[in-house]
């Protein structure tokens, strides 16, 4: 216990800094999810840039970040969203152009005021633009007898407000994010919710500018939600992941920045970007690796099904005439060779559908024969169906059936058989295996 207390006091500055960063990322990560889902990420960017003149004017009037500063900035933020819409409607300017125009202009105004009029005020341009999270622990105030940095208090309040906002408007936000038309139909006041969201984003931006600066708020708004989007398909989990990614960015960003002696805000953005890259590569379903594995497994399944069907057909032939036994070399050549053929053979054997006989001869097991029969049945049913209903010539049947056979399950097979009035043979005169027939191994 004492060791813990000692540890906490030793690293108090670092912990307060990390706490400020984490609280800021929590608010941003929650609201950012809705921006990303609604494909309005750049509106977040625009608002975060545009609140700058609001902040500066409030500082000029008040001298400190305070309630008027918040209100001014929130108003400017909502004006940005409104201005973008009305400029698009009024001036028939493309939406991206009008957004770019409004926020760069407001930002230019902010920088102009900041660098020219605010010289006498206690407001450092660098702090506003790039944040000064390192200085957060130095400016403290007393809350319930505890010395807590002022920024942590305001960021904490913001985080609580954001959480309350998300929870209270959970249903509304969800519907306007996923189905704006339904929101309209339910008379949900989508416009009101939209502007409330924009107002919250402006608030969070103002609260965060001390921590990460007004430029990098966008990193915390967009990157964690985009990362979370790659990790899950559910909204609640997306919010959760987003918050986790945001907090991780603050912690790792602080540690790395301390190691390299550089800016914490910049490092937080870089860490968030790295997490996104990682997720894009290895996320289970939506990552590149995940997609690659899924595609690889699909092609492996198809090749091994083809191999089993090939063996089944060889058995059929062997029953009618004496032909040369199917050796592995011939099979592999027919499957196109290469590692895919090998892997498919190994996969079939591992599932107990095939075994290697003497002299590398491949033999289906009973289980293997059963699944191969289903595949061949699908293939021949489809060929018969194509002739019966589309009148395709005989030499046009094999290729489509070869592709589609892997996707016709037992139920569809039965429907096809019924549609063909349970024909016995396919157009080439080969027997269509029936569904319930017990397979028999070829006579040795």
């Amino acid at each position: 216990m004492n060791a813990l207390v000692q540890l906490l006091t030793e690293h108090r500055l670092a912990l307060w800094t990390i706490a400020a960063g984490s609280l800021c990322s929590v608010s941003c990560a929650l609201l950012g999810c809705y921006l990303v889902l609604r494909r309005m990420s750049l509106l977040g960017d625009a608002i975060s840039h545009a609140v700058l003149p609001g902040i500066v004017i409030a500082f000029l009037l008040q001298g400190r970040a305070s309630l008027p500063a918040f209100i001014a900035a929130v108003v400017v933020g909502m004006l940005t969203a409104y201005g973008t819409e009305s400029l698009t409607a009024l001036g028939r300017v493309p939406e991206d152009t009008s957004m770019g125009l409004i926020y760069t202009s407001l930002f230019a105004l902010g920088v102009f005021l900041l660098t020219n009029l605010a010289r006498n005020v206690d407001l450092d341009p660098g702090c506003v633009l790039y944040g000064a999270i390192e200085l957060v622990p130095l400016d403290r105030q007393e809350v319930w007898g505890l010395e807590i940095p002022r920024a942590v208090v305001s960021l904490g309040l913001t985080a609580v407000a954001t959480l309350a906002f998300v929870l209270l408007l959970w249903k509304e936000l969800k519907i306007i994010s996923f189905d704006p038309a339904l929101a309209q139909a339910l008379a949900l006041r989508a416009g009101l919710v939209h502007y409330l969201l924009m107002g919250m984003i402006a608030w969070v931006t103002v609260a965060s500018f001390e921590a990460v600066g007004s430029i990098l708020v966008i990193a915390m708004l967009i990157v964690p939600p985009a990362t979370a989007q790659l990790l899950t398909d559910r909204l609640d989990r997306m919010l959760l992941w987003s918050v986790i990614v945001g907090i991780l960015s603050s912690i790792l960003g602080y540690i790395l920045a301390a190691r390299l002696d550089t800016t914490v805000a910049g490092m937080m953005a870089v860490v968030a970007g790295c997490q996104f890259t990682l997720a894009a590569l290895v996320a289970p379903r939506h990552g590149l690796l995940g997609q690659f594995v899924a595609r690889f497994l699909l092609s492996l399944r198809i090749v091994s099904e083809d191999l089993a069907a090939m063996l089944y057909r060889a058995e059929e032939l062997a029953r009618r005439s004496t032909s040369a036994p199917l050796t592995w070399a011939r099979c592999a050549r027919a499957l196109g060779g290469g590692p895919a053929a090998w892997l498919s053979a190994l996969a079939l054997r591992r599932r107990g559908k095939m075994q290697f006989g003497p002299g590398f001869r491949l033999q289906l097991t009973d289980a293997g024969r059963e699944s191969a029969r289903s595949l061949v049945r699908a293939h021949r049913l489809w060929e018969a169906f194509l002739v019966e209903y589309f009148g395709l010539p005989l030499d046009h049947l094999h290729a489509p059936a070869e592709r589609v056979e892997h996707y016709i399950g037992p139920q569809l097979q039965d429907r096809l058989a019924a549609a063909l009035e349970h024909a016995d043979t396919d157009p080439h005169g080969r027997v269509i295996p029936s569904a319930g027939e017990t397979p028999s191994p070829p006579a040795p």
């Binding site: 230019a108 967009i222 990157v223 550089t262 800016t263 968030a272």
Partner: protein
Amino acid sequence: MNLVPSYNTLIVLAGTSLLGAGAGLAGCFAMLRRQALLGDALAHAGLPGLCLAFWLWGERSLPVLLLGALVSGIAGIMAIAAIGRFTRVKQDAAIGIVLSTFFGAGMVLSRMIQNRVSSGSRAGLDSYNLGKTAGMISTDVYLIGGIALVALIMIVALYKEFKLVSFDPAFARVQGWPATALDLLLTLLVAIMVVIGLPAVGVVLMAAMLILPAAAARFWTDRLGVMLVLSALIGAGIGGLGTLASAQFSLSPAGPVIVLVGTAAFTVSLLIAPRRGVVARVLAETAYHRRLDEQKVLAGLREAEGDEPLAVELPPWRFAATAGRGARRRRAALQRLMVQGFVRPILGGGFSLLPSGQQRADLVERGRKLWVALLLRYPELAHGYAELDAETIDDLLPAKIVAELEADMASAAPEWSP
């Protein structure tokens, strides 16, 4: 206060004007191809490359720094394309991710450089965030001018091709043009322009420099060629005026001043441009509504008077006096018609059409019938003529179609009487 600019100011002035002109040229294509925000991403993504180039080269050499910025800016654009291509993340989020991550990396590098490099040569890296024109020397101006010239030559030489891929890339591809290569070339043009603008207006505001002149020029014309020339001129004007203003009133950095001058130019264009400007459009809309009101009144009077065109002794028709919705607008329309000599008041109240009014009312009626016939015959064209004016239908539709419609009306007249 010195009103005659010094040699240094002239150098800077030439540099920012050339930059504005070049950005104006490239910006037209960026805006038309909906890539306005790509310029923003490019500018932000250039920062880490700029810092790395500074670190590796060891001193402030503009061409080397800009080359570094160009390389990392293009890497950023490729990252955006790759995110859009390979993941489910949409383009807007991809732009946000690349923009913020690259900029963060740039800040990290810049701080590390400031901590390590001796103080003498580190000056200037910070200025790339907000832009600093004061440090511009004549070789920088040659570089900017040269690149702007190359851009100009490229646009003149490939004008037709660029136009095609900007407006209809699918058609360009179908026609067998190397659409992808042209696309890349245009993107490269934008990238180079953005990068050479970094020293003057800075990372954050370069996007504005790119789109402001183009967006302002767009209000004045519908032709690409004219728009390019105008945009280049506006860009040069913005750059020059912004620099002069910031030098004259010792405002620094110059970037925001230049952008604010550009915003003013844009706002003026937005308001007063002849056809697309807000004022002109509001006026046109008012005139259109007035004409509609007049047409309604004329049609009403015509109906009331029946087929006797000059019957003065008609019972007083109290059209204008009816209360209810639109009464005031109807009265105003009636007043205008009286002033124009289409309608006259009758003793004892009411109004009557004069011969010219009768003529115009017939024209309106014919137009309305033609309009109905058009909707019946070509319903698929309806949205193209949404604001069709009953009096100008003859100007809008080809004579052949009008004849066709009239034949329709003659053959089945009773159906269309309203």
